[in-house]
């Protein structure tokens, strides 16, 4: 029966992709996991040494710095982008002329490679020739902004550049969320006598919770994967001041001949992302099924 043929065809057509996905994602993850419990150094060795590589990983100071950095980075990144993105979205929602143009301006950084962003901001925050010099030239002779060269503050420069790049994204999502709110709810609140800031706080923002959730999940996974930006902006330095798990993994695996440790760090990254993601995806699919 030809309808059966079509039905079979549809499954057939998905087989290559399904296989590719299975191999490229799940098999490869398993592979990485095996290496992380093997004694691999320069080349992969398929033995089993338990959690030795993980122990080694967690006793490496550089890794500890990386974990500290990623925590600082991710939290600041999330807080700032969400706050700014929400603020801009609310401002834009006030029936602004040239809204399209402004939106375009806030979003264009997302079209750029992180390398380009890193390069530009590296120049801007250059102590001798960037912001520090400009402000000093304006008269404020003791102004210092050499964070990028200061091991204590370098990580914050990464935050600045990343926030600049990604705030447009949160803005877009919050704006879409705001636009999706039924105007009659607002009117009902106004009839009830609430003032506009009050309405924002008590009625509108709570309704943005799904958007907020999306943003947190998507941004955290972008943050945890940060690699290009750091490399271009600070190169991981000064020293290892801006080392992140991604840069650590890269150098361990491809430069320092420590495949096992590199794989272990990759598995750590995976587990962190899975922890935030799996509950989110599961809920999304549940609600779609019930809907």
């Amino acid at each position: 029966m030809e309808k059966r043929l079509s039905r079979h065809l549809s499954k057939l057509v998905l087989v290559p992709s399904a296989m590719l996905v299975f191999i490229a994602i799940y098999l490869f993850i398993a592979w990485t996991a095996w290496i992380s419990v093997s004694s691999s150094r320069v080349m992969p060795v398929y033995d089993f040494v338990g959690l030795e590589q993980f122990v080694r990983l967690w006793s490496t100071p550089r890794w500890i710095i990386a974990v500290q950095n990623i925590t600082i980075f991710t939290s600041l990144f999330l807080i700032l982008t969400i706050f700014l993105g929400l603020l801009i979205a609310i401002l834009l929602d006030q029936r602004i002329r040239a809204e399209g143009l402004l939106r375009g301006i806030y979003l264009y950084p997302m079209a750029l490679s992180f390398i380009v962003t890193g390069t530009a901001w590296k120049w801007i925050m250059n102590p001798g020739l960037g912001i520090q010099k400009v402000v000093r030239d304006l008269g404020w002779a003791s102004f210092t902004f050499d964070w990028i060269a200061d091991p204590r503050f370098a990580i914050y420069t990464v935050v600045i550049a990343a926030v600049w790049q990604s705030t447009g994204f949160t803005m877009a999502i919050f704006l879409a969320g705001l636009r999706g709110i039924d105007g009659s709810i607002i009117k009902a609140a106004q009839i009830d006598g609430a003032s506009l800031p009050h309405i924002y706080a008590k009625v509108i923002l709570p309704m943005l919770r799904p958007a907020l959730l999306s943003v947190v999940v998507l941004l955290s996974h972008i943050a945890i994967k940060s690699f290009d930006l750091v490399l271009a902006l600070t190169g991981g330095g000064p020293g290892s001041a801006t080392e992140l798990p991604s840069t650590f993994m890269f150098s361990a695996s491809f430069r320092r001949n420590q495949l096992g440790v590199g794989a272990a760090s990759a598995i750590m990254m995976l587990m962190t992302i899975a922890a935030t993601l799996v509950p989110y995806l599961y809920r999304e699919f549940r609600s779609e099924r019930d809907a």
């Binding site: 039905r7 065809l9 549809s10 057509v13 998905l14 290559p16 992709s17 399904a18 996905v21 994602i25 799940y26 490869f28 592979w31 990485t32 290496i35 992969p44 401002l91 834009l92 006030q94 029936r95 602004i96 301006i105 806030y106 979003l107 264009y108 079209a111 750029l112 490679s113 992180f114 390398i115 380009v116 962003t117 390069t119 590296k122 801007i124 960037g130 912001i131 030239d137 999502i173 879409a176 705001l178 607002i186 506009l196 958007a211 999306s214 945890i224 994967k225 690699f227 290009d228 798990p245 890269f250 695996s253 491809f254 794989a263 990759a266 995976l270 992302i273 995806l281 609600s287 099924r289």
Partner: protein, 284 residues
């Protein structure tokens, strides 16, 4: 939405101020890239160029040093194009058929399959990078553009399937049923009924894929080197490896060259770019 009783001036003022901050880096890149090197070292980085020169651009394109080669970005630009076009086409094509099969010919487990595929969008590439490198080596593609084309196509499928699936799910099933009664089969329906209505999402998919593949660095730096590297890797090399006096103007020109294609796409078709961004994000 009702108006906040703020001063309109405050709102516009804030927005314009923020816009200025956003545009500043772009301005700085452009301005620096057309300045004379002495002027850069002497003057302020936000100031207008006193005299305009396009020499930095010429240098960046043809003579800047990437590693030991000093032939500018031109070759790497080409590499990126060679890498992007096939990968965009392949991932978009496969994604569209996947989205079609998953939504219009549902079967038990199609939702699960889609979920498993979707995970690919969130995958931290570090967790599969090592196996990718080994596999690419085994396939004899190590260090070539082909490795990048392969890798970007495969991992792009997760995104493109997501786009097309979310789009096709809004097409009424009755359309497919009518076509079945008319006697059309799986591919005929795809070709005559579904594809003609897909133009918007095809554009979204292509723009999104082009942007992420062009801007990729991780795969580029892990799987290729030297002559075969894409733009982003070359740019990083130019900027981070300097001998002698740092030529900031050339650096910025190089960054501009690297960023212009995606920026141009964004300016021309930004609307579709936004649709791609929010495609998977806002659900209710």
């Amino acid at each position: 939405m009702p108006r906040i009783r703020f001063d309109r001036v405050f709102i516009y003022g804030s927005l314009i101020f923020i816009a200025a901050i956003y545009l500043m880096p772009l301005w700085v890149m452009i301005a620096t890239s057309i300045k004379d090197l002495d002027e850069i070292y002497a003057g302020s980085f936000v100031a207008l160029p006193k005299s305009i020169t396009f020499e930095p651009w010429a240098k960046a394109w043809a003579t800047a040093c990437v590693g030991t080669e000093c032939a500018g970005l031109r070759g790497y630009f080409l590499n990126s194009i060679l890498m992007c076009l096939p990968a965009v086409a392949i991932s978009t094509l496969i994604g569209s058929i996947n989205g079609y099969a998953l939504t219009k010919w549902r079967f038990r487990g199609s939702k699960l399959l889609f979920g498993l595929m979707m995970f690919g969008c969130f995958l931290p590439l570090q967790s599969v990078l090592l196996p990718i490198a080994f596999t690419v080596g085994r396939l004899g593609l190590a260090g070539t553009i082909w490795s990048l084309i392969l890798v970007h196509s495969v991992y792009g499928i997760a995104f493109t399937t997501l786009f097309f699936r979310n789009y096709f799910i809004t097409i009424p099933d009755e359309l497919v049923r009518a076509a079945i009664i008319d006697g059309a089969g799986f591919f005929r329906i795809y070709w005559s009924v579904i594809l003609p209505t897909s133009t918007p999402i095809i554009v979204v998919s292509c723009i999104w894929q082009f942007t992420s593949i062009w801007n990729d660095f991780l795969f580029g730096v892990s799987l290729t080197s030297g002559q075969n590297a894409p733009m982003t890797v070359a740019l990083n090399n130019i900027v981070n490896v300097t001998m002698g006096r740092k030529q900031y103007n050339v650096d910025m020109a190089a960054a501009m060259i690297a960023g212009l294609p995606t920026l141009l796409v964004y300016v021309v078709a930004g609307r579709y770019f936004v649709r791609g961004l929010t495609a998977g994000a806002v659900k209710g």
